[in-house]
């Protein structure tokens, strides 16, 4: 397909693209949230007199007066339904007022009294509450084991046994989680909401407020990023809808950036032990990968940290395991490649350590351990081109000239190093519905409740529909971002394009024969549930190779990354322009993970201290120099009609390990705890 410029690009560069709380509605009021100031406890009383005395305050909502709403499986959405405080920063009250200024000031005046208990917020291996979850996100077994991993490891000629930690990280999309709620005269609810799945959000909102799904509409044509954190509704949706009902007016509520560190999910911190045993040639005999993570007392979210280890390398003896501690913290959730991202930092760092221990080039080591089939399930891979990615990447990056000796290249006061890591991400595809319609004027309209959170979904689906219709993309309009459109899966798990695209193709295919009747408008629809249920069982995964070059300042511990390169095998790339942007974007986030991103838990008070963008460092423009991404020619007929694998997440997977491995190559120092800040580096130097 020829690359297509982002369809909504013009709207975005002129400021016309509207995001959630930007819709003009008559008589709008503003809400502000009050957050718990204790880490665990019970609300004794909510003092609202001072807030209500402010001119312009319309209502104050809390556990003392909030309407009862239905419970759903995410307890974070049971807003004001209980006196229990589960973590510091939890929303405990809300104010609705005529203006934003008044709402926020009134929220400051709401007085909540608590009986408080000391919060338990520190994740550590000795935590008495550690347990094995029944399964990990979304439906994987918590543990797997084959052979005799302990015995094989003990008997291995070359061994790596290391513990790696990754901190809590916050998604931090640039658009805060925000909702504009409008109740109509008949009790129907329209929510202009920033989310990654209008259909799912609609169902959840309908359930919470006891409405038929047809009484709720979610409007989300433009979403300012989510990276997983908008994959499910957040408390802002419930708060806005509740406030709008209480005030009898439309209500806007956007979480403040500070609130986003409590109420939008985050990547769980992990403590991971990896043991790799190999023979003298580097052939793995044992792989053991165990992860400890946290969840809240509100809800179990068990991240699938070690699942990539189940597909990466061949070894006869192996075990993966997940353990969880439930703490008085906000509930962690999805953040770009949950599981794969922290898991592959540990595994790919350990592979680098094994390469050093065995005296084998890290790329060669990975090639030697390439499996013929999925190592644990035994399923055939639908396609697997990791080796091609590694080899092409090595050529492009200039790996051949790399002296394997660490700390051997110095320029002035800087040490230079190069690192590599593998990447992988599953190729998911979920059932979807779509319609395709031939209009009287010869154009086509494709409808699906998909959502474009910056991924280029609108553009990719246009290309997919145009190809299926054998029409020019200019004649195809894709409507998405609205729950009134045919039901669609969430923009998550890198499965959007695959799942939505399948339905779009099927709808277009159904439309094509109808066009011969020369009767317009005419519409066809598709539901891919049966097709996806019937697909053969295969191991479907994308793979990639990540390369990084680093400069480490020996005096200051500052690390700069002059070059990063990713080469990916992702089936067929639908739109080269937006795909490259997605890969580079993921790698940029991986750079942040490697060097700066860290949500620091306040162990005394029990909340994340790094709660704004001055304290939680995302990469800035100056941090990113030369990052580029390529993809190999991969034809996989076992995926979907487009032949594509998802690309939204694999860019971050392995990126941090590539940087950390480069730091080791530059300095000889193995940093196993992210992020690799000047403080960590200096302490090690």
């Amino acid at each position: 397909m020829r690359p297509l410029e982002r369809i909504e690009g013009r709207e975005k560069v002129t400021g016309r693209a509207r995001y959630a709380v930007e819709y003009p509605v008559e008589g709008v009021a503003y809400a502000a949230a009050v957050q718990a100031t204790v880490g665990r406890g019970e609300i004794v009383a909510v003092g609202t007199a001072a807030a209500l005395a402010l001119p312009g305050v319309l209502a104050v909502l809390s556990c003392e007066n909030a309407p009862e709403v239905n419970a759903v499986d995410d307890g974070e959405l049971a807003l004001f339904q209980s006196r229990r405080v589960s973590y510091r920063g939890q929303f405990v009250a809300a104010v609705v007022a005529e203006t934003l200024e008044t709402a926020r000031e009134a929220a400051r005046l709401v007085r909540v009294d608590y009986v408080s208990e000391p919060p338990d917020v520190r994740l550590h291996p000795g935590h008495p509450g550690i347990y094995k979850p029944d399964r990990v996100n979304p439906v994987f077994p918590a543990d797997t084991e084959r052979g005799d991993p302990e015995g094989a490891f003990a008997a291995s000629a070359v061994r790596v046994d290391a513990t790696y930690t990754t901190p809590a990280e916050h998604n931090n999309p640039m658009e805060p989680h925000a909702t504009l709620a409008v109740w109509d005269g008949d009790g129907g609810l329209t929510l202009y909401d920033s989310n990654q799945g209008p259909s799912l959000v609609r169902d959840t909102a309908a359930e919470i407020f006891g409405l038929g799904p047809d009484r709720v509409r979610i409007v989300s044509p433009h979403v300012g990023g989510g990276f997983g954190s908008k994959g499910t509704p957040r408390p802002n949706l419930v708060l806005a809808a509740m406030a709008a009902r209480a005030a009898g007016r439309p209500v806007k509520f956007a979480q403040t950036r500070q609130q986003m560190y409590s109420a939008t999910g985050y990547r769980t911190p992990t403590i991971q032990r990896v043991r790799l045993g190999a023979d003298a040639d580097g052939r793995l005999t044992a792989i053991v990968h165990e992860a400890l993570e946290q969840s809240s007392t509100v809800r179990e979210f068990a991240e699938q940290t070690t699942t990539p280890t189940r597909v990466m390398y061949q070894a006869p003896h192996r075990r993966t395991a997940h353990r969880l501690a439930r703490l008085d913290v906000p509930t962690p959730s999805w953040m770009r490649a949950p599981g794969e991202t922290p898991g592959m930092f540990a595994l790919e760092s350990a592979m680098d350590e094994l390469a050093v221990a065995a005296g084998i080039d890290p790329i060669e080591l990975r090639i030697r351990n390439e499996p013929d089939a999925a190592p644990e399930s035994g399923l055939a891979f639908s396609s697997r081109n990791l080796v091609t990615c590694l080899r092409q990447g090595a050529d492009r990056f200039g790996w051949a000239g790399r002296d394997p000796a660490p700390a051997a290249r110095r320029e002035g006061r800087k040490l230079i190093g190069m690192g590599v890591a593998s990447a992988t991400y599953p190729a998911y595809r979920l059932p979807n519905r779509a319609t395709a319609r031939a209009e009287v004027d010869g154009t086509f309209t494709v409808r699906i409740a998909a959502v474009d959170i910056g991924t280029g979904a609108r553009t990719a689906l246009t290309l997919i529909a145009a190809e299926a219709l054998k029409a020019e993309p200019e004649r195809v309009t894709v409507e998405l971002g609205d729950s009134d459109l045919p039901r669609a899966s969430v923009a998550g798990g890198s499965g959007g394009t695959a799942g939505w695209g399948t339905a779009v193709v099927r709808a277009c295919e159904a439309l094509l024969p109808m066009l011969e009747e020369d009767r317009r408008p005419v519409e066809a629809s598709a539901d891919t549930t049966a097709e996806i249920e019937a697909q053969e069982e295969l191991a479907r995964h994308a793979f990639g190779a990540q390369f990084a070059e680093v400069e480490v300042d020996v005096d200051t511990g500052e690390i700069r990354v002059p070059r990063m390169l990713g080469v990916f095998a992702v089936g067929r790339v639908i739109n080269a322009v937006t795909a490259r942007s997605q890969f580079i974007g993921g790698m940029t986030m991986g750079l942040g993970m490697a060097l700066m991103e860290e949500s620091v838990m306040d162990e005394e008070f029990g909340d994340y201290l790094t709660r704004d963008l001055a304290q939680y460092h995302l990469p800035a423009c100056a941090d990113v120099r030369d990052i580029d991404a390529f993809w190999v020619d991969e034809h996989d007929p076992h995926l979907n009609p487009m032949g594509s694998k998802g690309i939204g997440e694999i860019g971050i997977v392995g990126a941090a390990a590539a940087v950390a491995n480069a730091v080791h190559h530059a300095t000889g120092l193995r940093i196993r705890d992210l992020p690799i800040t000047p403080a960590r580096m200096l302490t090690a130097l």
Binding site: G557, A620, D623, A679, L685
Partner: protein, 329 residues
Amino acid sequence: MRPFAYERAGTAEEALAKHDDDALYLGGGTNLVDLMRLGVATPARLVDVAHLPCDRIERGADGGLVIGAAVRNSDLAADPAARRSHPLLVEAVLTGASGQIRNQATVGGNLLQRTRCSYFQDITKPCNKREPGSGCPAREGEHHNHAIFGHSAACVATHPSDMAVALAALDASVRVRGRGGGERAVPLGELYRRPGEDPSRDTALEPGDLITAVEVPPLGLPSRYRKVRERASFAFALVSVAVALDVEGGAAGGGTVRDCRIALGGVAHLPWRAHRAEAVLRGAPATAESFLRAAEAELEAAEPLRDNRYKVPLATNLIARTLTELTER
């Protein structure tokens, strides 16, 4: 944000007259509006001093600068005379914040910005600086970017300004007008306080005192500002250093240090003038060894906290390295 009255002052006299104990002066607002939105600052009145006529940079016959307090940070950094005569000052300003914020922030406001300690900025937690007597959770809590010099049991916060570090090295002083009338000069070295038992006061200024200008003596020496932070731009310093060096017979030749100025940022409640290092260095040969010895002499007095010990080698290396680079130019 608490409601407040707003008044714009056209002259310093007017500003002083409008100020009372419930008022705060508003410059560019880049820190004050931020703090008001957080509920940390709750003035009943703002007296806008961003439009006072003290908005020019004057160059004295001796090569010194008089920088009006209402001069925007970006105008200072763009000033052709300042760029030639006081590069370390311009470099310091340019490493601060972002282009947008430098366009808004005034020189006077920059000097009076408050610490970015996360406890100070969160009104739901104790902080002696914000609420005297409430305690300092940073001492035992999160303090990886807190002070290693001059802190007290009551406060371990650092001063966030880059510009102030350069001004400290330059022996600058501020012109201050008080409610009592009259103008006085306060040397930078006396402007800022150590936290002691009362960290609520950052400076020696009295309520209502208005900074009208910064006087910067001539420099005439090679100088440099270097800042280390956790990302490549748009972040506060972990440690920064402002240095100027006068070497007899030229820096390149390994002559004798006649004079030097060294100030550190990110290490104390105030810009930290490294007097011990300077004393060691004066009269010593201008070599990397001397520079390191001088830096070590300064850092010997450091009292790092549990999680900011890294600042000791960082500051040591940064002083030595920056001085060395000055001699290599």
